[in-house]
Symmetry: C2
Subunit: 353 residues, 2 copies
DNA sequence: CCTCTCCATGGAAACGATTCCATCATGCTT
DNA sequence: AAGCATGATGGAATCGTTTCCATGGAGAGG
């Protein structure tokens, strides 16, 4: 366990000052002669600049933070892989946190990142605008992925701004308004995805279509409501809290309370899983008794019998793009990105019986 | 975006020296009177010590690194969740890297962590002992999870040591030997898991049982060989390289080249997924035509029709325990941990037709 | 009452990089 | 040839913390 060489060692061995070494290594100006010598010595001593010194001096830790609700959810696994891929190609570290969908834990993790002086953050938010205010106020560059934080309960203007954001992202005309929470986001085109799915089901003759959502699926629910059109049968819009158990309970409850429904759209893959399980448990055949469209394309969607028809969103790309945004934030002002979704028709939807 | 308060600000506001503030905040000795005042001022200024200064001074970054092959693999998602849970309760950051199962990327990530002075690392290793030598030499506290690195190709003594390790972990008498790569690990009891599965299949009458493995499944293959007993039909032991495509190719190739096999054990869930897909594609019914046991219990195993019989290993616990080990490493010398596996019988195995 | 001990306390030195600024040499212009 | 601009260079300050060490005061024991 030998002590690592410092910039001082290199300077001494090369017979130059530390400033020169630093310049050479970070691309500053130096005479070719000196540059060569320093490089040679550095290589010979196997010198690698310590991030510690640099970080302190620049009062910021490199790299970025990444906050997701649950890595066990394959979609967030894909998203994380995307972020990691981009970070790796930039040689930057990624500090990961899993919030469990709990705003309080999210808040704590933000605090931890602040303490670490990590000033770039990609997040699938669970808390509302209020939860995120401290991060923004501290000057963090934040990029949201997959969804936006709910508007703060208390502050009216924040609410308005977040709403503006939602509408803008959905392509609706945004009312001109100040935007206190001015954070770029990388999201999928939920609206188009849901609309396509609902139209597809309608085309198969389905009239009573249910939506099974979870936390953070606000935009998808809104899109669903819009797609089915008024009047919306509110009993057909149900929610789980995020855990697999609660998703199962919600799905099971839905099927039992409304045996007349003929199709279900789920807002995420955990909900989709729950729907398949609950349907089987209640002896509902897919797609004979009930048709199913799940948000998220995950590898196991193909494994089900029948294979699941899904609204695919590019999880990996979302992560990659978000990481790009957060890294380039210094250069250009990042704008939000909306990625396309695709309805992948497999076998879980059939004509209304 | 206000500047954060430093220890100096606190000291000044409290009318004490910075040393005293530091002591109070890190539990050193101080008079109750001073302590109270410092605490009050710190709270009032919303002071949080910057990890940057501390890290530089102690020449180490807190927290731990985590290296997994692929977060898209649900099992590693579970493992990561375990690590994160433990780290969170300790208030420590986790730096994540995904290696894609590639020793070279793994090596680069180790270098990155070294540069960050992260000196605690949990890894599902992809490279061999040689890949890991630099980390050990640099004084990192490493804990392997799920598997051990393959012995180095070149060094004979390292090979011997790693072999010793393997045998010891499997409960076989280990030949006394020097162990150059002395790294604790948290692994599942692969041997018992595989043996139980093979016995179960034998009990159902199966004679030609195949094993479908991937990189890092060495111990599972070894256990499989031992469980089926000599002579092993080598054509029934096949490998993929880790990607989903290659897993599918391996599974499909196996089924086609040996239509006489009646049961398959897969070394991981990606391979299991591939086996289900390949079987369906070739019109093999599970379990009528072929029985299937998959390593790893993942949520979607229950979704398959029929639900998959699996060898469950506690991914989350493995992560948690590994994190505990790596955090306690300063206190007590960590010993390797072997966690139990469980054969969960669902519907993918039937009597030999 | 003096001294010895112990504890609280603050000043200052690390830690390893970046970066400002002064210095010096070189080469060009007038 | 003198002056000026340009570029290379090294010393020193800086970032925010921990920790070593010296100092001072108070209490206890002689």
């Amino acid at each position: 366990m030998e002590r690592r060489a410092t910039i001082k060692d290199v300077a001494e061995a090369a017979g130059v000052g530390v400033a020169t070494v630093s310049r050479v290594l970070s691309g500053g100006s130096a005479s070719p002669r000196t540059r060569e010598r320093v490089l040679a010595v550095a290589a010979q001593l196997d010198y690698r600049p310590s991030a510690l010194g640099r970080n302190l001096r620049q009062r910021r830790t490199g790299g970025m933070g990444l906050l997701v609700p649950d890595l066990t959810d394959t979609f967030y696994g894909q998203l994380a892989e995307g972020v990691l891929a981009c970070a790796r190609s930039a040689g930057e570290p990624v500090v990961l946190g899993s919030t469990g969908g709990d705003p309080e834990q999210e808040s704590e993790l933000i605090g931890m990142l602040l303490e670490q002086s990590v000033d770039r953050l990609i997040a699938v938010p669970s808390g509302d605008a209020e939860t995120w205010a401290p991060a923004i106020r501290a000057g963090m560059t934040v990029v949201f992925a997959d969804r936006l934080p709910a508007p703060a309960a208390a502050e009216e203007d924040v609410r308005a701004a977040a709403l503006t954001d939602l509408l803008a992202l959905d392509g609706l005309p945004a009312t001109p308004q100040t935007r206190p929470l001015d954070v770029p986001a990388v999201v999928a085109d939920d609206r188009a995805g849901i609309r396509t799915a609902v139209r597809y089901l309608r085309g198969l003759g389905h009239k009573r279509i249910a939506f099974l959502g979870g936390p953070g699926h606000d935009r998808r629910v809104a899109a669903f409501r819009e797609a089915v059109g008024a009047p919306v049968d509110e009993e057909l819009v149900v929610f789980g809290t995020g855990s697999r158990d609660s998703a199962y309970a919600a799905a099971s409850g839905l099927f039992q309370s409304r045996p007349d429904l003929s199709a279900v759209v789920t807002g995420g893959n955990v909900l989709g899983e729950a729907a398949v399980l609950a349907a089987r448990e209640l002896d509902l055949r897919v797609p004979r008794d009930v048709s199913l469209v799940m948000y998220d394309d995950v590898p196991w969607a193909e494994l089900c019998s029948p294979p699941l028809t899904v609204i695919a969103q590019p999880g990996r790309d979302m992560g990659y793009r978000a990481a790009e945004l957060v890294l380039r934030a210094g250069t250009r002002k990042p704008r939000s990105v909306v990625l396309p979704t695709e309805l992948i028709i497999r076998g879980s939807c059939g004509p209304r019986r």
